[in-house]
Symmetry: C2
Subunit: 349 residues, 2 copies
């Protein structure tokens, strides 16, 4: 963790970094080293020009960023959740590769009205999730910024590149499956953005949905289990099932058919959808940020993969199939199917 | 390069990503693969959940971010230079480790009034510098943001962790040296921020100083040569010589003495300082963003290290020595010495 000091010899731009705050954040991040389960040997952590590691084989690296007003609002997202969400989004990408999580590097863009206590809470939320998954936070940077922003680079590992699962291996005939349940993060967001919905949703459903939005859990164990069980293509559900299925299909040069009524609904989704006059399956098919995994599994390996995911404490649900051609279609409960055209694919129904 | 799509099933926050723009940026970044000189085997680049590489030994990883109004202003920093500066700052950290540059991951926070053409120019500037140094840009993300922001994670390589040089190995008796020339970036910033200075500075000096601010060159070859020649501690000059010398001294548990009149002045510094009524040595000692290297070299290796840096087309200047104790002092031309107390260490002179 370093800060830029423009120095007295030049005109100052913006505010100067606060080295005390940086030191306090660095201390919190350094504590993640003690809980590190990274397969990489960590030689130099925070405090030098760069961190130094010796990775065991292949590495998977991803960057994810959250900006206030785009992925969250400070009004309803406490600093701890901002930190947690930022790391979770990056770790979810590693889960979708079947990688073992290793290290993270964090940049924090801090507005003037986000005080030191809030910065430390954000660091705490991020460090807690890191420790849960054995991720060592090895570096970062802090800059003044008009909008609260967090950018996380996460590095995962595998013995060899062949053990990692990309998006491009889906073949016609594969089962299309999702881990866990869908629509929860979207339902949570609706509750957080529309206070008037709360009164119409029972507390248990409300809490479950809001937790899916504020405290996402990257499916790292399930991702590794799926990779080991012979999954041939995988993507994490950050943009929404429809959009991410399109990504998987396009990368694989295949098509995808999804049975809408097979989608597993997260707790609270039915109640929130009812209160908002929305279709719960629509939330499940197009809401983003569930951070579940969508994967293509050859039929012969489906039973073993399902068992492997169950052993991680997560469910695996078959929601459709990979087909030839390039189209991504949703089969509606009545039997009719509609193409997933893009972000607005369900708007016209 | 991916974009977050909030989907129609949830209230939209901010603006939606533009997949055409992302594709165009990704295409420009993918071109860096062709010029890649990374010692790592690159197995998966842009377009999957994460990039996959097989590093050859030890890796050095660093994060650097630029935000409009803090590290630059859009008024005077063209998009190409924003991209170039962001990558240069991260690569400079790798240079200070003596690492060979390998891969980069980029997040771009884009305000509404920064149009697609500007985004592509920024990508172009970054990709050009990447290609100059054989760096492959393997991933990234694009988010709407109220302030133009670029966050770069850079990964470098070495055969083993022992080949990399940290900040903490300086010992009393070592010569303290800097590569290249100092104060240029600070002089350039003064010219860019104060239009009225231009008329008083000859064109050659003006251009040289502005180029140091807008087109910084990370000292990767010199850093690798210094590491191979037995440099025991190294840091890049991003915060300014005084501040960075303090970082090196603190990490090494040693003190540092710098002879002010030995500082090598960059082209244009004298002229800009004269026009602004400032001391050129003050700009050299405390101006940031020169991205030269400050290093501690055992006396017996100094001649060889100097030759090695010269072979890279850069100079190495002895500017002081490492001493016992923890203080960092500047020896002024008259013989008096003053402590470097922090960011404002020269203000009181």
């Amino acid at each position: 963790v370093s800060g830029r000091d423009p120095g007295p010899g030049r005109p100052r731009l913006g505010s100067s970094p606060e080295f005390d705050l940086i030191a306090a954040i660095a201390e919190r991040m350094e504590a993640t080293l003690a809980a590190s389960g990274s397969p990489a040997e960590i030689r130099v952590g925070i405090g030098d020009d760069a961190a130094v590691t010796v990775p065991p084989g292949a590495t998977a690296t991803t960057v994810d960023a959250l900006v206030d007003g785009v992925a969250f609002r400070r009004r309803w997202c406490p600093p701890r959740s901002v930190g947690r969400k930022a790391l979770a989004a990056a770790l979810s990408d590693l889960a979708a590769m079947g990688a073992r999580p290793g290290e993270a590097y964090v940049w924090l863009g801090r507005p003037d009205d986000f005080d030191q206590g809030a910065c430390l809470e954000l660091a705490e939320g991020l460090a807690d999730l890191a420790a849960e998954h054995g991720v060592a936070v090895l570096g970062g940077d802090l800059t003044a910024s008009p909008a609260l922003s967090v950018c996380v680079t996460a590095v995962g590992h595998a013995g060899s590149a062949e053990e990692l699962v990309g998006r491009s291996g889906a073949e016609p005939g594969c089962a299309l499956c999702v881990t866990g349940e869908l629509g929860g993060a979207a339902a949570g967001l609706m509750l957080l953005e529309h206070d008037e919905l709360a009164a119409e949703v029972p507390a248990a459903g409300r809490e479950a949905a809001v937790a899916r939005q504020l405290e996402p859990a990257p499916r790292l164990a399930a991702g590794a289990a799926l990779a080991a069980a012979g999954t041939v293509a995988m993507v994490d559900l950050s943009d929404g099932l429809g959009a991410d299925a399109r990504h998987l299909a396009a990368a694989s040069g295949a098509g995808v058919e999804i049975e809408l009524d097979r989608l597993p609904l997260a707790a609270g989704v039915r109640e929130v959808a009812a209160a908002a006059g929305r279709d719960p399956l629509e939330l499940a098919a197009s809401g983003g940020e569930d951070y579940e995994l969508l994967c293509a599994i050859p039929r012969g390996r489906l039973a073993a993969a399902t068992d492997a995911v169950c052993e991680c404490g997560t469910t695996l649900t078959e929601v459709g199939r990979v087909v030839s051609g390039g189209s991504v279609r949703l089969r509606l409960p009545g039997g009719r199917s509609v193409p997933v055209k893009g972000h607005d694919h369900l708007r016209g129904r």
